[in-house]
Symmetry: C2
Subunit: 410 residues, 2 copies
């Protein structure tokens, strides 16, 4: 057969090659019969047979016996699954307090995990590369593996990251702006690297390994030190025209409003994220920022005060909740997703995730006879963000393999 033409860059929302789409359906469902793939992608069974045969010869998938072991026309049912031993990848997430990593096989099974604490300060690019190498070697040592056993690395960090060019425009954990981090990391580590925004990683983790693998469209909002968003449309991360993902945390909710760490005013993040609450706590409660306390600890104390009836502490959470509701209502009005997943480690602050905030959000979004979007809260830990980075690596790797095979066939 002839090839499918060159890969369209993922920064456009153009059609992807069918081979890529078929592979992703198989990965999403764990195992899939050819006829179900044809139905779900609206293509003919003949096309699916041709494409799956290509993917088998590329070593990406294999025939497996269907979980449903019924007999069809005298033969046991056959399905297609990912080839487990095809590739191992490492996912790494760098954050303000912890660097985490996982090793994952092609079926999504986690083989090893590691997490190393780090200092919550701005880092030089050299530091970031050193942290990445240290975290990589830690997880390899846990798994009893070497760098040469790994086919690709996914690296996630907060900020404005261009997955296509591998460029970090700005990150709240980095001193330098405008860094070609992917290529530098690739050279430093000697392994193929893919980078992305950490909020996109959470969306990828939900898409690949979460409970939403069968859902075509959903939105993930991450609420941590900052505020992030990942949008999945048609089983695929939507990254926008410039490939840097979407910046929910920097949507404006107040003209000339509170100062955000991005330098602009009135960003949602400046009302809702950890640092914004800590800043308010310092002002209203006279906490002058005990330098020995991490922001998480300050917030825990603030939350205790609010529960104990301190009106200033309550008002801090209350205002944050109202702005969060407004921001979420804007998401509903602009994307109309069927599901919004609120994701973060600190899902305990029920002033922020209470029924009241959800009700407030529903009051501020469009009313239709059809039900409003479902809202779920998932309390991801850092290792699951790292798993999203592994999904990024596996996705980048399979795109490369398919693209090279298609070019070779032309």
């Amino acid at each position: 057969m002839t090839g499918y033409g060159p890969l369209i860059p993922p920064d456009s929302y153009e059609q992807r090659p069918l081979r890529q789409q078929v592979l992703e359906r198989i990965r999403a469902t764990g195992q899939a019969a050819r006829i179900d793939i044809a139905k779900s992608l609206n293509i003919s069974p003949g096309t699916v047979t041709q494409i799956t045969s290509d993917l088998i010869s590329m070593g990406l998938i294999e025939e497996v016996q269907a979980a449903d072991t019924g007999i069809v026309r005298g033969r046991p049912r056959v399905a297609l699954g990912m080839r487990a031993d095809a590739h191992l990848v490492v996912g790494i997430k760098l954050s303000d307090v912890l660097d985490s990593a996982v090793i994952v096989d092609s079926t999504g099974k986690t083989l090893a995990e590691a997490a190393l604490p780090c200092r919550p300060t701005l880092h030089s690019t050299e530091d970031i590369l050193a942290r990445t190498a240290r975290t990589l070697d830690a997880v390899l040592s846990v798994g009893g593996l070497e760098r040469g056993d790994i086919s690709a690395i996914g690296l996630g960090l907060p900020g404005f990251i261009d997955n296509v060019s591998g460029f970090v425009h700005w990150s709240p954990i980095m001193m330098d702006r405008g860094v070609g981090l992917r290529d530098m990391a690739q050279k430093h580590l000697g392994v193929s690297v893919h980078i992305d925004n950490d909020a996109n990683l959470v969306a990828l983790a939900e898409l690949w390994f979460g409970t939403e693998r069968e859902r075509s469209d959903f939105v993930v909002v991450t609420i941590e030190h900052g505020l992030g968003m990942g949008v999945v449309l048609n089983h695929r991360l939507y990254r926008g025209a410039r490939g840097c993902g979407l910046e929910f945390g920097h949507t404006k909710v107040q003209l000339d409003g509170a100062l955000c760490r991005c330098g602009q005013r009135g960003c949602l993040e400046a009302y809702v994220a950890d640092y914004a609450l800590v800043r308010e706590a310092a002002t209203a409660l006279g906490w002058l920022g005990d330098p020995s306390l991490a922001s998480g600890q300050v917030l825990e104390q603030l939350f205790e005060q609010a529960k104990a009836g301190n009106m200033a502490a309550r008002s801090i959470f209350h205002r944050a909740g109202r702005y969060l509701a407004l921001g979420l209502a804007n998401l509903v009005n602009l994307f109309d997703p069927s599901l919004i997943i609120l994701s973060g480690e600190r899902m305990d602050y029920d002033y922020l995730y209470a029924e009241e905030v959800i009700a407030d959000m529903r009051r501020s979004s469009i009313h239709l006879e059809t039900p409003p979007p479902e809202i779920r809260t998932h309390r991801w830990g850092d290792l699951l963000w790292a798993k999203g980075a592994a999904a990024l690596a596996m996705s980048g790797l399979s795109e490369e393999i398919i693209s090279m095979a298609s070019e070779a066939a032309e």
Copy 2:
């Protein structure tokens, strides 16, 4: 060949049948060679040959001589184009001041136009049906045609409209809420009807007949009596999970802000749309709403006052411009489109569309090294909205034809 399975409902952003995608590429480009279709959709030339042969036998497309009349391998170049005489459709747009209609053939050529003034008041469902019938018959009479000559009608009106179920949840020009308008209009007119939000129609008009036919992703913002938005992703209108489109005008830009005609507070529309400016003019300038003046006339007077140096009038436009910039910056941060088209009849108010507003928007959106979205202003008239309604009818019609052919083949 076997069929492509059932049509996925357009309220999901799932994969569409390839036949539909191929047809839309041909329509978008005017005429296309098979090899270019294969490249643009990332499918094999063999698949394109099979699909175009199906579409020819359905009477939707035909072989035409390529505009580029070069000789390839001794034969004149052949391309595929829409079959002009395949179908005629009518597009109708109802608004607060004018009902407009066009008759369009399968290639997008306009055969007749008509526009009838109407009273700017809330209308009963019976009135809306009567207005639709009157406008339809007016344009048919201009074109020397009868209802039986028309294959489908596209009907656009402002509000929350579900294209899939044909349901009007709410419209600012209708008394009743929750009306199954599509089915009622179909019965009333005796012709197949498709309905949609008027802002979606403008996006469809740009996608089908505008200068952006080749662009895969863009956003249209309509600023008129209300504020609307249409989003095109992957050459296709994005309608969200509930199929009612996206509500830019009802995104909140101020907690507990100005009252909107939708009943909620702080909507962008309540700061920027015509009725909001007229309301401000009444308060600040003591205009108690001369009932003989349409809102357009009040705005023209207000604009004259602003140009003459009236500070209150200037401040009205200035504030509207700042909120519009904030709303547009939120669009950029959430969708990151490569192009935003500002569309409306009243693009003369340079306080709203000035360089200053665009600069303000750029200051409030994410800064990357890559260029920010391009902003264009298009001064559409009502007849071009009607042309979008015709595109809606043509699109619905071709989906029906392809779906029926696929079912018959199974």
